[in-house]
Symmetry: D2
């Protein structure tokens, strides 16, 4: 049984483990103030061409989301997201726990549209309603789709005009940027978003997300907020060392590239058999629509999630590849697809 | 320069790294529902002789504290701690962030006394004041001291009588149990505390705390609360694997034993020179009182924290040893102490 | 210019002011522990035939909603409401401020349907999502409609079966019970809801809502929670005296009855002119659909809210009557309607 | 039995009730946007000579405290108060409920000293600790004492220098300003505090506090925060009308003056009998130290609180006067004191 359930089934890319072994007995400063975290931050700043950015390494994605949103909003302000957004459905109300409403708008393949944001702003017009102050998007999205440069610029413009912060959840930013359909660079992201993060957990690290704060007014005393949220590891260097390795060269993008290529081969096999998709395949998450019989057949040898079922016997499943997905397993899956 | 600043300067004990390397390419279930986390939990249950306990692996200590306190208290309830307690001074108000007051009582060598708890209960008598509902203690304490079995039993009895939860922060539980002055077992802890945790970060793991919930009524839907607080790692197995190794045999106690022995040798060197201590040396944290000149001298070659200074030229410093502290560095420090 | 904007434009019914004047120089115990609050509570208990209920008097509706929801839910639990619900749109995120998500379902004339609740429960199935634990309804609803006994029983049954608390916001409960279409009694409400409140502010009091807790497990230490939320007035008797007067005889229902009759006359005038309604007229809130020209005409002499506009030149306005609405002003409005 | 238990046993000063009766059938705008609230705000602005101040009317004191503190602090910031402060002991943890730690310093007759504030700032030096950002004082204090102009200026200067907000709880500001020992004006208060409030509940109103925001940066979108906290009454004019009457002429100060004079007569009777005080008598709250026998004797005919008892048979009681305290009852109490 080979699992295509998610992109966090295995540990870390071997180079990352090697880096941890290599540095293991060094004595490092605690709480993320070590030299590895500093170097990793420098690498990221160069990559985004923003010496002024503040970089913080946070253990996980939900934690990063709640930290960012609760740190930057005043109590009566809220965040706008797609209804499919991780913060809206899959974080057990972590954002609301920090006191803020998530206004969920209908998604377009997992993405937000400027028009829907404008309608929401128009509707929220007085002090009896929450005040929208941040837009949350994820790239790649929960449906594996990506924002084009034009789309991201349009949302950025709108946010500037309406005085909204733009927060980009990059738990799978590697997959987005490594996509064949992508026209964004990491530098673009840093100039269009006020705050974003570069996911490590789902791209080869044991754990860790690199949070990038691009807007001056958001930087102040942020380490207090990290500590207060329980997001400052005593051995912060454990994350710093991993990101240092991921960005020592372009390992980060190599890993995403591999994952995407594996997904693409699976997608092609599915297309050859005439199956459709619930969302356009772009990255390492595929959402094919299969007859129930095919789902049953595949499940004999492969792990995956069932996303939703319709009344006509069709099922949307989710297949996810990662840096660790082997060519052999993909070959085998494609073979299976061809013969079901 | 050798650092005695804390017990989290190095990575993980080599056996733990080996375990991570060995299991690295396994496909594990996410979010702590993997086989390693299950096995580690079984090992801990055997150790405490409590098949009914619920075990959860949490990334860090502050996170565990806020998770436990906010999950078990109703909004108007508060937690009692020593004024030296980590939750009171060194978590940037993380407990208050979850809505609960910390009532800090004067410590006795870092410990709480039942008499002070009773006085606090007597004072909080109506609905215009918060309602004490939990007692938080740490073992070993922030001053490196430990609770005797009699002391812990007395607090346990009081908590039973007054309907208070007893929560034991075991960030350094290994050091406490491995102390020569200790008369408690892990099983005792589990029968006396309602909830406690076994620290990994400060005893050889890269990160992770094993939370043990002993009281039935506290177990319900706890995974929701972990997730909501951002404390559920996608690769939860990264912590599970480490605890599995720590409790595969008695590695956990060997590591603490080593740290304590290293500290004891330093303490003896200090005693030989006639220095006193701010708190009785028992575990891996020492708080010697030194003349300012000696502090200056030591700081040339060793790293440590200055805890407090008095008006008479005396300084309390903190020296901490760990599983990674080398005999050579301790010899060298003792030598230094002898000659200052 | 006569205002039909809302039912809280005037002060209190003269009998209530008289009661305040009559008792003004009495020395009463503070914080709602006075004899008037006690008597008012006894009157309500008799009315609902529940000696065991706990009654608390709270200054306002938003405050009561946040107090109830945050007191009864654990951190990961959420409340289900109609998307038109006051807690969802018109309380500036007060519920989220207390840490809880509001799951808003499509309304049917302002009401929730059991089927939609069931679908929501089915969807929220694991610890990555919030856990629904309470259903919030309002009677009369934000659209002036009311629940029938059969409808309320169906929701009650579902809540029992699925272990959900049922919370009924009765800011306009008087209007609901005094409606010609109503088949519920106050006693029914108390036996079908776990917690509900009887609105004073919008039915003749200066301020105040009578919160009724019917379920044993929800009563414990509730005064602590009231105090902590800033909802315990020093001069709590100011609310107690008003409810004592409202329920000394059936003044409470007389006032709602008057408001409803005034609304009914307006509704008939609108019907006679062939206008339709956005929601079926039942109580003291009317939502007629008017051509823009008529709206403009009416606004010359009467105050009201514009609820929404469509693209075809039609406008939904809101007209509200109260205990204070004079027959003369209603006559005049009907006359206007007839001639526009 | 005549009660000296508190200053909120009676309803409202007759002139206030008359104002409510007089305006009762007016149609006013809701939510504090009515003409009476506007006029009352204008009167207060004139009184403090600050056209630029923002004035909001809030139902109660605890609510005002939690609203102010939680609105102006970022999540990691905390408030400094005396250990006797209302927010520290008598609000059931309302401030912590909003996420903020209260750092309680030893009081000097209920007051804070600049030296203690400085020590606290020095101690809180990094991101592992909360960040002090606001100083909370009350005038008169919980012990009935008052701040001199020099004392308030010293705290103001310190706050400016250290970038702390100064928040003055004026639940009993009338009593402070009407004290014979007072050298502050309302205008001074407004120029020295960043935010303060003028208590109505304890000085003749049925309910209500007038919150004055003097600092520009704190004003933005404050009505959102009022609403979100459940502190915006639908019939906001009920408070506006009362403050309009209190400040129509100097009724507010007349009422405090009367209360203080009544207290002074009682204090003189106590002094004549040689009794000492737990805190220097200045305003309408007295804390005489009496032998237990005298306490028992007084309690036969008068209501009061027992504040604390010592081991030598002495008891501190609290006697409070108000606008409603009759000369006859004071005569009778003085007579009693003379003969016990």
């Amino acid at each position: 049984m080979y699992s295509f359930v998610n992109d966090y089934s295995e540990g870390a890319h071997p180079r990352i483990l090697e880096a941890l072994v290599r540095t293991n007995l060094e004595q490092n400063t605690g709480y993320g103030e070590d030299i590895h975290s500093r170097k990793a931050a420098e690498q990221i700043k160069r990559l985004i061409n923003r010496e002024d950015a503040d970089i913080h390494f946070i253990p996980g994605g939900t934690q990063t989301n709640m930290l960012v949103i609760s740190s930057f909003l005043r109590p009566h302000e809220c965040v706008i997201s797609a209804d499919t957004a991780h913060i809206n459905v899959h974080e057990t109300g972590a954002i609301e726990l920090t006191g803020h409403k998530v206004i969920a708008l209908p998604h377009k393949e997992g993405k937000l549209s400027p028009d829907d944001i404008i309608k929401t702003l128009d509707y929220h017009r007085d002090e009896h309603m929450v005040k929208p102050r941040m837009v949350y998007i994820s790239n790649s999205t929960e449906l594996g789709t990506i924002y084009t440069k034009a789309e991201l610029e349009a949302i950025h413009e709108l946010c500037r005009e309406k005085d909204l912060y733009l927060f980009l959840d990059g738990v799978r930013l590697g997959a987005a940027l490594a996509s064949g359909d992508n026209d964004l660079t990491m530098e673009d992201i840093a100039s269009l978003a006020d705050v974003f993060y570069i996911g490590g957990t789902k791209n080869g690290a044991l754990l860790g997300e690199a949070l990038v704060i691009c807007r001056e007014e958001l930087k102040k005393e942020f380490r207090y907020l990290i500590k207060q949220k329980g997001a400052m590891l005593a051995k912060g260097f454990v994350i710093g060392i991993q990101f240092e390795e991921l960005f020592r060269d372009d390992l980060y993008f190599q890993l995403s590239g591999h994952a995407n290529r594996m997904a693409e081969r699976i997608a092609q096999a599915l297309v050859r058999k005439g199956y459709g998709f619930y969302a356009t395949p772009c990255t390492n998450q595929l959402f094919p629509i299969l007859p129930e019989k095919a789902v049953k057949e595949l499940s004999k040898e492969f792990g995956f999630l069932v996303q939703k079922r319709d009344n006509m016997g069709n099922t949307v499943i989710r297949l996810v590849t990662s840096w660790a997905t082997s060519k052999e397993s993909v070959d085998r899956l494609c073979d299976y697809i061809e013969h079901i």
